[in-house]
């Protein structure tokens, strides 16, 4: 099961990276987000999986696809300068980062021990536990997050309005 959802996630993300058409790339992103939601279910966390689908595929990707269609920018524009050196350097840096960090994770003895001891205590996340932690210990953070969302909403309206 794990390898199925991991492959859905990574192939969706890779399809997004390589796709020329931006709308198709957005749909690949939806596939990747669904794969991540499946990974959350496997982690015993259905609350996070539901939130992932509602917020990412339901809200954020719809917003992105809406803007893509509104701006009518379906294809990548032609490059002004090739910038091949920067592209190769960034490709090498990303590849080195990926290979190096994966090697580090696989070689780490502490993570291996945590994986063995943690697999013995599977505990599903429930909405009740999340609510208790959120409203008992992090009430201030919750309120600040609400304020942040309000500020972002006003900011988005102000930025897109033609003459404020």
């Amino acid at each position: 099961m794990f390898i199925t959802f991991a492959l859905i996630t990574l192939l969706g993300a890779l399809g997004m990276l390589l796709q020329k058409n931006i709308i198709v790339a957005g749909l690949f992103m939806v596939v990747a987000f669904f794969g991540v939601a499946g990974l959350f279910v496997l982690l015993g966390n259905p609350v996070a999986a539901a939130l992932q689908i509602i917020v990412y595929t339901g809200a954020i990707m719809v917003l992105v696809l809406f803007v893509i269609m509104m701006l009518n920018s379906h294809e990548e524009e032609k490059a002004q300068a090739p910038r091949s050196i920067q592209r190769w350097v960034s490709l090498v840096v990303v590849a080195a980062l990926a290979v190096g960090s994966v090697k580090l994770v696989l070689a780490s003895a502490g993570l291996k021990a945590l994986g063995i001891s943690g697999a013995a205590m599977p505990q599903a996340m429930t909405l009740q536990k999340v609510g208790m932690a959120l409203f008992a210990d992090h009430l201030l953070g919750f309120e600040v997050a609400g304020l942040l969302l309000l500020a972002a909403m006003i900011g988005a309206v102000a930025l897109t309005k033609r003459n404020l």
Partner: protein
């Protein structure tokens, strides 16, 4: 569970490897693609990779609910970033008639 087994059957290291690869693909999208909307999707992918790592650690440390609280905060910030980022892309398109980040190389009109 050895390294390869963990990847195939979903140990902690398997989830972390998926998160790292997801982060790398997102970073590659930000660095290699020129369209701002593609770069934006790369940023979303990197935020998601962080979420996968966070919740994997939470599960393997006994199902701590604190991680879910931080996951909620990350989602809230991602939603804010989506709204403001897309508004900026639309603003750029109005002024420059482009969504290519290479063509927005100067601050003046």
């Amino acid at each position: 569970m050895t390294g390869m087994d963990a990847i195939l059957q979903g140990g902690l290291q398997g989830y972390l490897v998926v998160a790292l690869l997801l982060f790398s693909i997102g970073l590659a999208a930000v660095l290699l693609r020129r369209t701002l909307l593609m770069q934006f999707m790369g940023v979303e992918l990197m935020l998601n990779a962080a979420n996968v790592a966070l919740l994997a650690f939470a599960r393997f440390r006994g199902g701590d609910a604190q991680a879910m609280v931080f996951y909620l905060f990350i989602i809230a910030v991602a939603a804010c970033e989506a709204a403001v980022g897309l508004a900026l892309v639309i603003g750029l398109y109005r002024h420059r008639d482009t969504t290519d980040s290479d063509r927005a190389a100067s601050l003046k009109q």
